[in-house]
């Protein structure tokens, strides 16, 4: 990348932000931009929103195409060979007998008492001390091992976001994960989460109908919204309500009666562990009246009825628009995108192509006005750094989790609220601090969360090593003695010991996340860019990483900070980059 190419870009960027007479009349204009309007700055915007951003080289490649070709290079991702993408490598933690996994420890204990075995392990013979200990150990093993496996799954997906040749596929899968929000904290089965993730990716750009049928038969979602308890005699409205409120129409377009009738249609839609199961004994085959339709409707009929409603097209198209373009949407654009979405048979791809080509997408209020989600913030930074593999020191899940977003664990069924809600004064500071951990990764002090045992359980191990028996080893503290004694009073098992054992067993079986810091040479980057002075360096980093110009006073402060330092000192360059990435402007996409 030569500096010559970047100079005009900088001018254009400034012009677009500050003046842009053409671009302000583009607001709400859905007609396509012309070849003449295509430039590096707009290509960068497309890559930011339609993917996770990229290096100057990535942007230049898009800029060299026509807008149609550039948009197609993202949208027509099915044509891109992605065979290099590695599937998730399961550790194999799920043993025979662990399905169906008991909903609680108490339930595991009850099974153990009644049957003499549970979770595939036998209780000890009658009269043995703590005869149910193996069962309870296994229960906690299941919880801990699954939690580690879900962390591994998050790292796997993050790496895929970073390295996929189909960035839009991953960005869309992330959108649907937030739309059809499902969390492993409740599901407690990474296998279900993995299958849901594959289903969402498979249909990400296809029809909304396929996604709806897929998600409403998806074991993770069925568990998450308690549809196993949606039975003829006691319909559970959780599922039917979220379908209408969150997944399709939005509030205000249906009645409470529609919720109840819809719930009846989904009775008996349940799962046999990893497979959808239609339980006809629990299904209500009676007549229902849902919206404008009456008959012995089943779940698929409900979906098809919902898809006849204009509200559905508008609600989902508007959510896609807000995710890819901007928060404020004019009623006219909403109506038009909803109409064309519905008219196309709810195909996502043409909708996105239209949005990405529209003048509105490149208009001023659509540009550099989004706040990056934590996942996008971290992945796009790695992209812009030019990394080829996900750094795992610091831990990806911890970084984004501290900012309010953990993959496979959205806060509730409504997904991540996004936008300004990502930002609190404390998270804004953390959003900068985390890059210090990336740029100055400290492998010696790093403690891997997938191998971390909470202190209370680690103490059990220490106590046992000192020669204490289990009862002594699991006693906690002094002030809490009485409440902690409860778990020891049960002669059938010791809960704290089981929890400790569960961690040990999980650490043995669940593969560790391989740990490595970012492979990055800012010296090489600066040298390739011929950035030899403090001014040139600051400008280069700002161009490469920011979507808006740095305020003059910040630029001056950064230049002064670097003055006297060497452009061949990797640590000095990293100190400078940390400042750039901490700027409030860096939150903008």
């Amino acid at each position: 990348m030569s500096r010559r190419l970047w100079f005009p870009v900088w001018v254009l960027a400034g012009a677009a932000v500050l003046a842009a007479p053409a671009s302000s009349s583009w607001i709400d204009d859905l007609s396509p931009i012309s070849n003449a309007d295509w430039n590096v700055e707009r290509a960068a915007h497309l890559l930011e929103r339609g993917g996770f951003g990229g290096t100057p080289e990535d942007v230049a490649r898009l800029a060299a195409l026509t807008p149609q070709q550039a948009v197609d290079s993202l949208v027509e991702y099915a044509r891109i060979d992605n065979s290099g993408a590695q599937p998730f490598e399961e550790s194999g933690i799920w043993d025979p007998g662990m399905d169906p996994f008991p909903p609680s420890r108490a339930d595991a204990v009850r099974q153990g008492r009644e049957r003499g075995e549970a979770l595939g392990v036998k209780a000890l013979p009658e009269g043995s001390p703590r005869r149910l200990q193996p069962v309870v150990d296994k229960f906690f093993y299941g919880l801990r091992a699954n939690s580690i496996e879900t962390q591994r799954l998050g790292v796997w997906w993050a790496n895929r976001m970073l390295t996929s040749k189909r960035p839009l596929e991953e960005k869309l899968t992330l959108f649907w994960h937030g739309h059809f929000a499902t969390g492993d904290a409740k599901v407690r089965d990474y296998r279900m989460m993995l299958r849901q993730n594959a289903m969402l990716r498979q249909n990400a750009e296809g029809s909304l109908r396929a996604l709806l049928v897929g998600i409403l038969k998806d074991p993770a979602m069925l568990v998450y919204l308690d549809n196993g308890e949606n039975v003829k005699a006691h319909p559970n409205e959780n599922f039917g309500r979220e379908l209408l409120e969150l997944f399709t129409m939005g509030v205000g377009h249906y009645s409470e009666k529609d919720v109840r009738e819809g719930a009846r249609a989904f009775t008996g839609w349940t799962n046999d562990v990893l497979a959808f199961k239609f339980d006809q004994d629990q299904h209500d085959f009676g007549a229902k009246t849902f919206l404008d339709r009456t008959g012995p409707l089943d779940g698929t009929d409900i979906i098809d009825t919902i898809l006849t409603q204009p509200a559905t097209g508008e609600h989902v198209a508007a959510k896609l628009y807000r995710y890819f373009v901007r928060d404020d949407m004019s009623p006219a654009v909403k109506t038009e995108l909803g109409r064309s979405f519905r008219a196309s048979g709810y195909e996502v791809k043409p909708l996105l192509r239209r949005i990405f080509l529209s003048k509105d997408f490149y208009s001023q209020p659509s540009t550099a006005t989004q706040i990056k989600s934590p996942v996008v913030l971290v992945i796009s930074t790695y992209k812009k750094m030019g990394l080829r593999a996900l750094p795992t020191i610091p831990d990806f899940g911890r970084l984004t989790g501290a900012l309010g977003q953990t993959l496979f664990d959205p806060p509730n069924v409504a997904g991540w609220a996004g936008g300004r809600t990502w930002i609190t004064p404390a998270t804004l500071m953390q959003r900068g601090n985390l890059f210090r951990d990336v740029l100055f990764a400290d492998a010696a002090r790093f403690r891997a969360p997938d191998r971390l045992m909470p202190a209370t359980y680690a103490r059990v191990g220490d106590n046992l090593a000192k020669g204490m028996n289990i009862t002594e080893a699991t006693k906690e503290g002094t002030g809490d003695a009485e409440s902690n004694a409860q778990v020891d009073r049960d002669e059938d098992y010791n809960t704290r010991y089981a929890s400790y054992r569960g961690y040990l067993m999980a650490f043995e079986r669940a593969k560790p996340i391989p740990r490595s810091a970012a492979e990055l040479s800012l010296v090489a980057m600066a040298s390739a860019a011929h950035a030899g002075t403090p001014e040139a360096l600051v400008d280069y980093f700002a161009r490469r990483f920011l979507s808006v110009p740095l305020p003059e006073k910040d630029r001056t402060a950064f230049v002064e900070f670097f003055r006297g330092k060497s452009v061949t000192s990797e640590s000095a360059l990293r100190e400078l980059l940390y400042l750039v990435l901490s700027a409030p402007e860096y939150q903008l996409s």
Partner: protein, 418 residues
């Protein structure tokens, strides 16, 4: 703070309260005049501009029947033969009701007339999902997709959006309850980590982010970020300093995060923060007591009662008892009948609690106790819509007449505040 001065004088003095000049960061002293002017402007319609509302959340679904125990009702003991609190142990405050034996703090508050208990709070078509139900309590609009929190909407309608830190949320993430269209709540958990990392040289550079906040740019999102950066840069020092320098003789107990959170609120009040709405959560779904709940519930309630009692005493010690009310809720009560694991499953209605100074709040019980035998699928039928209690806080305590607009529905208030 007792203040016989005019509202205007009160604001000018009360903005930073007693500690102005004492240990206040320089940048705050410098901008006092400007901020005071702002506060005066933003509160021109305020009836009680000095009043503070502290909302406490018990997450996980607190077992209301073992908290406020209906010791006079045989149906309670029939439904809970193993986990019911024996009548002789209950801290009785009426012939029919009393507190869990570990809640010595609540017994004291009740007897002092500093506490109101509202029976049977819930809403129509209750959700038994933690997430859904909690989001309904957070938004104050059950069974709808309301995007903003009820406290956020209170602030949007009544508090000056240009003034910072009017909402403080102690926690690792922002609660939906305080999500606001106009305000950026100050959210922090550990004040010690509420800072920019870096070398001294870097911190100097980082500290000036947002210094030009307020100069409107063409980019509203950037304006918001710059304002938040300024808020963070200004508030983090203040908060860290206030929290680290705060010393109190009052014993908050050993409740960890919850007591610690309330103590941080007291520290900010002592430091003269102009915050009007505080939100503290008992975190981690702690009250979800499905199994073997006896000891763990007892401990949770003890921590809770200790912390609330201590906070009210501490606020009184600071001379601000007149100005502070506390409301406490959980997302649902639990099933009337105990389950097979010496615990309780998700239920519906439960008690809510209001606290304040004895001559500000009218202590006692409110609402009708729900029947323990006339049930809805094993669950209590709610007798008071929880938004009546919200409306009480909004109208009677904060003095905002438009509670119906904020809550998107008209709810009777309880006549609980003098």
């Amino acid at each position: 703070m007792t203040c016989n001065c005019s509202r205007r004088e009160f604001l000018a003095r009360g903005l930073y309260g007693v500690s102005l000049g004492a240990g206040l960061p320089v940048f705050l002293s410098r901008t006092t005049a400007a901020l005071t002017a702002q506060a005066l402007q933003g509160t021109s319609m305020e009836k009680h501009p000095e009043r503070i509302l502290v909302v406490l959340e018990l997450s996980g679904g607190n077992d209301g029947l073992n908290t406020v125990v209906p010791h006079g009702d045989p149906a309670y003991y029939r439904a809970r033969p193993r986990i019911g609190i024996p009548a002789k142990e209950v801290l009785k405050v009426t012939d029919t009701f009393g507190f869990h034996p570990s809640m010595v703090g609540f017994e004291r508050l009740y007897k002092d007339g500093r506490m109101g208990v509202v029976h049977g709070c819930g809403y129509d078509h209750p959700s038994l999902s933690h997430f859904s139900s909690m989001s309904y309590w957070h938004t104050g609009v059950p069974n709808a997709g309301e995007p903003l929190g009820w406290l956020g909407r209170v602030a949007d309608d009544h508090l000056d959006a240009k003034s910072r830190n009017l909402i403080v949320n102690i926690g690792t993430s922002q609660s939906l309850a305080v999500r606001s269209a106009k305000h950026s709540p100050l959210v922090f958990n550990d004040p010690a980590t509420f800072r920019r990392d870096g070398t001294d040289d870097q911190k100097k550079v980082l500290a000036q982010f947002g210094a030009d906040a307020g100069a409107p740019a063409s980019n509203a999102t950037l304006d918001f970020l710059t304002a938040t950066a300024k808020n963070a840069a200004d508030s983090s020092d203040f908060v860290r300093q206030a929290a680290s320098s705060y010393r109190t003789p009052v014993d908050y107990g050993i409740g960890g995060a919850f007591g610690g959170g309330l103590q941080r609120v007291a520290a900010l009040i002592a430091a003269g923060m102009k915050t009007r709405l505080y939100y503290v959560s008992y975190p981690g779904n702690a009250f979800d007591t499905h199994v073997q709940q006896g000891d763990v519930h007892s401990r949770l309630l003890m921590y809770t009662a200790d912390a609330v009692r201590a906070f009210l005493d501490d606020v009184a010690r600071l001379g601000r008892a007149d100005d502070v009310a506390v409301m406490m809720f959980t997302e649902f009560g639990r099933r009337v009948e105990e389950n097979g694991s010496l615990g309780t499953d998700h239920g519906t209605a439960g008690p809510m609690f209001l606290f304040g100074k004895h001559d500000r709040i009218k202590g006692g019980f409110y609402g009708r106790p729900p029947s323990l035998t006339d049930l809805d699928d094993g669950n209590l039928k709610m007798t008071t819509d929880f938004r009546s209690v919200y409306a009480t806080a909004i109208k009677e305590w904060l003095g905002y007449e438009d509670a119906a607009t904020i809550l998107k529905g008209r709810f009777d208030t309880l006549n609980a505040f003098a």
